[in-house]
Symmetry: C2
Subunit: 219 residues, 2 copies
């Protein structure tokens, strides 16, 4: 994928429904992923199709997830199973003058491909550090690092972001011309993820890190 | 499914990983669904597995979605395709004293089964009214109702909630005994969906409904 310009959609990622909301820009995709803590992974295990939420993060042009060795998700993903990964941020409810023109503000990404196991030990440690950095910048230098046993019990997997598409819906309510004068309130009811007051689990003797004291303000 | 007691998990819904977080209680499932505006539907179309986010709501013991007639999702779902539907609320980041014990607070539901088309016209209208009620109570009496053409162009589909499981993670950080005295901050950084200031799209002459004036307070 070219780093500067939008990629061409594949047959799987070309958005047909509300195509005007489609984006194939890499920066749009990265922004949707980087704001997300969770993704949904769809896969078929040969018997059933499943949809499983799990933590995610991004390094370069790949989405990363991790799992317990021997867990179903790890086994399926490392077997080269074709997957579809969806991430959605809901930004608001769009109230139009007519019932059937109600909609939502959202930013979503859908990724297609297969995961691969991160086998190299240093790459695996770097990937887990990147997850820690996403949770709280600098935390990786404070928390006890994973030991050999913990690292060995965890699988880190990545999927290329080459085959992906975003859909961005952020327009004002859209009503038919003949409905514009109806005496019905129209507008957007915004939704956003906010940070709440941190809950301390320690005995109070530990200095509170800046990413904790500043948590509420960074929402 | 018994209305009062937890259902037995199926082979597909029995949670193996972190099984202590599993819930098969109907009220837990309903609460997770009722708080969600979006679900993720996983399906296989015979060529690929897909994961598609879409609006959802609940009536009784069924989850409802809607789509454009002729759209891919509508065609696939009404063809009796086996699906898995996931809904997740992320409630916080759990910072433990050791890197590998970091986790998240969440409430998730995964549903298995097949969708069926709501063919009866009155049931279809009632389902769309229920969606409007979820967006804003009473709104269905204000907005122009769907006309015959709009109603005919939309498919409403439902899936039974009989085969479903929830996973609820809400514990304090869990560290190994030997890590408890490490000088590392431990606790939870809460995340929650909040309501923002409504954005008016009208000319200001329309009385503002209570669900708009009260929107921020109900977050």
């Amino acid at each position: 994928m070219n780093q500067q310009s939008p990629s061409s959609p594949s047959p799987r990622t070309r958005i047909r429904r509300l195509a005007e909301k489609a984006s194939y820009e890499q920066q749009t995709l990265y922004a949707v992923i980087d704001e997300a803590y969770l993704c949904n992974i769809a896969f078929n295990d040969g018997t059933s199709t499943h949809c499983i939420p799990t933590a995610c993060w991004r390094i370069g042009n790949a989405l990363y997830v991790h799992g317990s060795n021997g867990g179903r998700l790890t086994k399926i993903l490392t077997a080269g199973t074709q997957v579809s990964v969806a991430i959605t941020h809901l930004d608001g409810l769009v109230l139009a003058r007519s019932a059937f023109n109600h909609s939502m503000h959202y930013r979503s990404a859908v990724i297609y491909g297969t995961f691969e196991l991160v086998e190299d030990k240093q790459a695996k440690i770097a990937a887990m550090d990147a997850l820690m950095d996403k949770i709280a910048a600098g935390r990786k230098h404070e928390a006890r690092p994973g030991n050999a046993k913990e690292l060995a019990a965890t699988s880190v997997m990545r999927i290329s972001l080459d085959e992906a598409a975003c859909k961005i819906s952020n327009s004002a309510p859209s009503d038919d011309e003949e409905d514009m004068q109806l005496p019905v309130w129209a507008g957007v009811l915004p939704l956003a993820v906010k940070h709440g007051e941190p809950m301390h689990a320690d005995n109070g003797s530990i200095p509170t890190p800046a990413y904790v004291t500043g948590w509420v303000k960074t929402a």
